[in-house]
Symmetry: C2
Subunit: 339 residues, 2 copies
Amino acid sequence: MDTITIKDIARALNLSTSTVSRALRDSYEINAETKRLVIEYAERLNYRPNPIALSLKENRSRVIGVIVPQIANNFFSQTINGIEAVAYSRGYHVIIFQTHESFEREILTVQQAVARKADGLLISLSSSTSDVTHLCQLQEKKLPIVLFDRVSNELDSPSVTADNFGGAFAATEHLIQTGRRRIAHLTIPPYISITQERLAGYRAALDKYGIPYDESLVRYAGFGQDEVEPIVDDLLRQSPDAFFAASDRLALGCLEALKKRNIAIPETVSLIGFTNITVANLLSPSMSTVEQPALEIGQLAAEQLFNMIEGKQKIPQPGIIRIPTRMVIRESSQRSLVG
Amino acid sequence: MDTITIKDIARALNLSTSTVSRALRDSYEINAETKRLVIEYAERLNYRPNPIALSLKENRSRVIGVIVPQIANNFFSQTINGIEAVAYSRGYHVIIFQTHESFEREILTVQQAVARKADGLLISLSSSTSDVTHLCQLQEKKLPIVLFDRVSNELDSPSVTADNFGGAFAATEHLIQTGRRRIAHLTIPPYISITQERLAGYRAALDKYGIPYDESLVRYAGFGQDEVEPIVDDLLRQSPDAFFAASDRLALGCLEALKKRNIAIPETVSLIGFTNITVANLLSPSMSTVEQPALEIGQLAAEQLFNMIEGKQKIPQPGIIRIPTRMVIRESSQRSLVG
DNA sequence: AACGTTATCGGGAACGTTACCGGATTGGCG
DNA sequence: CGCCAATCCGGTAACGTTCCCGATAACGTT
C-alpha cells in the first residue's frame, strides 16, 4: 500500500528506475549530485528494497532452513540459538521446521524448504529416518546441506556432532571406575547415528575393562510420553547397578522412575545422562551428565553451511566435525558405599 | 537451475504460460484434455509453483514473524510450538526473531520483519521496552499484530496472556495460608506488563489477609547471568519466610542460591515459582509452581493473528484474552512445621 | 572536422506467476 | 447463410528490482 518503491522515487525525482537503482547502490556512473538527491529522498521516505523482488531476480532467498525433530527441547533450542547468531550476522534469516520425529514429515518438510527456495539446509535427522535419498537428490541439485547432531554417513555432506563416542566412553568408564559392573544403557531409536556412536563408546569402555557386553542391558526407547517407565522396569529385572541414559528426556524419565520406586541413587544404582539441561545440579540427586556444546555445534554447522553457500565451495568435503563433550560428575554417580 | 517453471511446461506442450497457469489452477475455461496434459506433465516433472514469484505478485509472503526475547527458554519454545502448529496448518511459515531483551534490537527486528513482508507479527515485548510507538506505526499501516505474554495496553491490538494476576494471587494466598507472613517477591524488570500484573496479584492477596505491603521485600532482577544471587542475599536481610519468584530463571536462581546457603526449604523459607519447567517435580526439593499454558497461549495468539490476516478483520478488537494458570503445590511450599 | 572518450542517464528485458483483455474457432439458431 | 455465443486459448502487463545495451551530450584528440 504505502510501501514505497524505486519507481516512486524515480517518478518523484523525474529519473528512471535504473538511475535510482544505481544511485542507491552507489554506482560510479551516477552524478554525485543525483546520488545525493536520490539517497536523501529515499532516506526521507524510509525506502527499503523489497527482498522478495530481489529473491526473484537473484534466484536466492537469503533464508536458510533449519530442520530439527522438535524445538521444545533444550539441546535443539540452544543449537538454533547458535545457528541464528551466525545467520543474522551474515544477513540471512532462519526458518525453522519441525519433523516431530516422523520420516514422512521430514520429507514433506524438506520439500517445503526447497519450494521456499531456501539457500541451504541445516538438518538434524528424525529418529525414524533410515534412508536419506531425499537428501541425496537435493545435493545433486547443488543445494548446500549440512547435517548436525543426528547425522548420516550415507550423505556426502559436512556434519557437525558432539563427540558421542568419546562422551559415552567417558561416562561408561566413569561408572566402571566407581565400581559398577552391570551398566544398563537406555538409548534412543537405533537408526540414528548418535545412537550407534554412543553405543560403540559404551561397548568400548566395557571392553577396556574386560566386562562382557550384555545385550539385555541395552534398551531403545521411542519418543512417546510414557515409554520410559516400563522400559526402566524391564531393565531393573536385569538387576543393573548403573544407568547410562543417552538423552535429556531419557535421563529425566529414568530419574523419575527410579525415584518413584524408591531406588536409592547412587547407592543402589548410579545414573549419568547425556544431556543439556541446565538444572541438572538442582535435581535430587543432582545428576551427572555428559554435556554437549549445543551452541557451538549450531554455530559451527551454520558456518559450514555459509562456506558452501557463499564460498561457492560446491564440492562439500564430507568430513565430520566432532566437538568434545564435557563430563560433569554430580551426586547421581558417586562411588557407592556398598561397591 | 533445474527447477522447472510454468514456462518450461508451456514450451514443452506448445502452450502459452497463461494456459498452463489456468490449467494448473483448474480454470473452467481450459479444455479437460489440455488440463490433463498439463497436470500430468507438471506432476511428472515435479513442478512446484515458485512462492517468491507469488509473493511478489500478490504482495504477501505467507510468512508470519514471531518476535520473542529469546528462544532458549522453555516458555517461549513451547509457545512457538503452539504458533507453528497453527501456522503450518494454515499454509503459513514462521520466521522467528530474538530481541535478547534489548529495545534497540526489538526495533531493528521489527523493521526486518516488515521489510521481509511478513503478513503479520506475533510479539512478546522485550523487558527493556517501555515505548511501543514503533508498533503503533505499523498498526496504522494495517499490519496485523498480536501481542502475547509480554503485552502492552498502549497498543490497540489483541493480546493473549496467562492470567498473571490470578496466578500471582493464588500463589501468594497459598503461601499465606501455609503460615507465611513475610513473603518476598523476586520479579523481572518493571516495564513489562506481566510484572505489573503479578505484582498486583501479590499485593491483592496480601491485602485480603491484612498483611501490609512492604516494598523492601520486592526486588527486580535483570537478565544477567549472576544477578540473582546477590539479590537473594539482599532479600534475606529482610528475613523473609517465603519467596515468590516470577519466572523460570528467577525461581531456579532462587532455589540454587538458597540451597547454597543451606537455608532449609520449606522449613525456613518456602518457595513457589511462576514457571514452565517440566522438571520442577524432580528438583530438590520439588518446586511448587504456577504453570502457564504456553502451548495454548501460542495457539490462541496465532489464531487471533490469522483472523486478522485472512478475515481481513482490519479493525482489531483490542481485547486481552487471559488464560487461567494452574498452581501445582510441591515440597518447596509445604506448611512449615515451625509456623 | 571527424572521430573517440567520458560522464550521465534512460529503455527494456528478465526473474515466475497471474489477471485482464482480446482473438480464433466452432456450433447453433434464426 | 449469416450472426452470435460459447469454448478455448494467447498476448501482455504487472509485481520490484537489476543489468545489459544504448543514447546523448560535452569534451578532447588527431
